[in-house]
Symmetry: C2
Subunit: 247 residues, 2 copies
DNA sequence: TCCATTTTTTGATCTGTGTCAAGGAACGAC
DNA sequence: GTCGTTCCTTGACACAGATCAAAAAATGGA
C-alpha cells in the first residue's frame, strides 16, 4: 500500500478494476491470467445491455460512456438505482442472474470478465477482493446518500444533486478545471433524469427551466450544461430567497 | 461450503458475523483471536449509539434489538438509510469515522470488535472477507430496493413495504409460523417510520389507520401488528378497489 | 396514584408535484 | 430538402401528502 491516489483512472492495463482510482498492485504478475478472461463490448446510445433476470456470465467495468441501472414494477413505474460512469463496476460475483436492467444512455464500452474465472481470481488474489469490498462499500454509501435525495429533497434540490454528481465525476475524469465554471454534457434524457430522481419528466423539465431562468445554470442546446458557481447551485437550489427581485 | 442454511443465527460463538445466516467455518481455529477483540455493549430504547462524524474504533454486529441508521440535513430533515435488526453489521473496516447516526429504537445489544485487529483479521482470513463482501452486497441490494420504495411508491405502498420487511425478518428469527397470520411488534415510532419512508408522521398514522379500517391489518395497542394475509397487504396496499362498499 | 411528557390520532387547509394535453425543436432516414 | 420519430417545453388542473393545530392515548416517574 505504498502508492497513493494521484494517477487515477490511468493505465492499469491488467487490473479488472483498473478504471477506478488506484490499484496498488496492478503491475504485479498475479493478474496475468486476466488476459484470458477479459474482453470488450460496445453498445450504442439507448441500447439495452441486459435485462433484470437475464443470465449473466460476466462482470464488467465501464471504460467509457454512461449506463443506468434500473428497477421496474409490474405496472411500469421505474426507478433508476445506479448510474454507471467510467470506472464503475457492474455485476455480482457469485450470482449468475442480473438483478437490474442495464441500459447504455450514451455510446458505451465495457471491459467484461468471464464470471467463473473472475470469481476464482477473487479467491486467490486478496487485494482484488479487498478492492472489490471497498468499491461495494462506496456504492452502498452512494445509494444511501441517494435515499436522502429521494426521500427528503424537493424537486429543485434533486436536480441540483444530480447535476452536482455528474459534474463532479466529469471533472474527475479530467475534462474540467476545478473551481471554475463547469461545462459538461448531460448523458441522460429528461425521462432518465426523472427516473433517477423519482419525479416525472415534466417536473424535471420545469425545474431545469427555472434554474436557467434564475441564472444558476445555463444551457446550450438541450444537453450541454454550464454551471458558473456550483456552491450557488447547491445552496440556492432549495430556496430562491434572492431569485426574483420583486418578492 | 458443505454446510447449508438451516440453523441460522445459532451457536457460531466465535465468528464476527455469526449472527447472520450460516458461516461454514465458524468452528475453525482461525477465529480464536476474536476472543481478545470482542466485547458486548447494551443500550436502552431511544438511546443514541453514535453520531455521524464520531470517532469509531470498532465494528459491530447486532445481537438483539433494533437500531436505525440515519442521515440528517442542516435544516433538520432526516432520512433513515438503514434498519439494523439482529445479525446486521455496522461499521466500515478501514474507516474510523461514523458515516451515519445510529440510534437504538428498542433495548439493544451489540457485539463489538475492536477495529484495528478486526481489519487485520480480514486480511488474514479470506473467508471472513468473503462473507463481509456478501453481506455488503446484500445491503446494497436492500438499499436499492428501498430507492424504489422512496422514489416511486405511494404512502400506502410504502407502509406495506415496511411492514413486510419487518415481518419477514421477524419470522426468520423464528417467532412466527410461516404462511399463517403474522403477529409482531413494531420496533419503531411513527416518526421513525416516517423517516424511513420519506413521509411525515401524520401521513404514516393516517395510512395505518386506513389499512386497519380496510381490515388488511389489525393492531393491539399502538405497536403490536397482526397481518392475516401478507399477500393481500402487498397487492392491495396500492389500490383499494374493494376497500369501501360504497364506491 | 397522579402528573408530566411523549406518542399517536384526527381534522382543516395548503401546496408541490403529478396528470393530461398540446405544440415545438432536434434528429435520422430517405 | 421532407417526413416521421423522439425528445423537450409549457399550460391548466387535480390530488397526494405536507403543514398547522388540537386533543386523545400511552408511558414513566415521583
Amino acid at each position: 500500500m505504498q502508492q497513493v491516489v494521484a494517477p487515477a483512472f490511468k493505465n492499469c492495463t491488467d487490473c479488472p478494476i483498473r478504471h477506478r482510482a488506484v490499484c496498488a498492485k496492478c503491475d504485479s504478475e498475479e493478474l496475468e491470467l486476466l488476459e484470458d478472461i477479459k474482453y470488450y463490448r460496445s453498445f450504442s446510445a439507448g441500447q439495452p445491455v441486459m435485462w433484470a433476470g437475464d443470465h449473466m456470465d460476466f462482470v464488467a467495468s465501464v471504460v467509457s460512456g454512461v449506463a443506468t441501472l434500473t428497477q421496474t414494477m409490474e405496472d411500469g413505474r421505474t426507478q433508476m438505482v445506479g448510474l454507471l460512469l467510467p470506472s464503475d463496476f457492474v455485476g455480482r460475483p457469485g450470482r449468475g442472474v442480473a438483478a437490474y436492467t442495464v441500459t447504455a444512455t450514451t455510446d458505451l464500452t465495457m471491459c467484461c470478465f468471464r464470471r467463473k474465472p473472475f470469481e476464482k481470481m477473487i479467491d486467490t488474489t486478496p487485494h482484488v477482493a479487498h478492492r472489490l469490498l471497498e468499491m461495494t462499500l462506496d456504492e452502498l454509501d452512494a445509494a444511501r446518500e441517494w435515499m436522502l435525495v429521494l426521500g427528503r429533497k424537493t424537486a429543485r434540490e434533486k436536480i441540483a444533486s444530480l447535476l452536482s454528481i455528474i459534474a463532479r465525476r466529469d471533472a474527475l475524469l479530467g475534462s474540467a478545471p476545478p473551481g471554475k465554471e463547469l461545462v459538461f454534457d448531460l448523458p441522460l434524457t429528461r425521462e432518465a433524469m426523472a427516473d433517477y430522481l423519482g419525479l416525472t419528466l415534466e417536473t424535471v423539465s420545469r425545474q431545469i427551466s427555472a434554474l436557467k431562468r434564475d441564472g444558476i445554470i445555463s444551457l446550450s442546446g438541450k444537453r450541454k450544461i454550464s454551471i458558473p458557481d456550483m456552491d450557488r447551485l447547491l445552496t440556492e437550489a432549495g430556496d430562491d430567497s434572492d431569485g426574483g427581485y420583486l418578492t
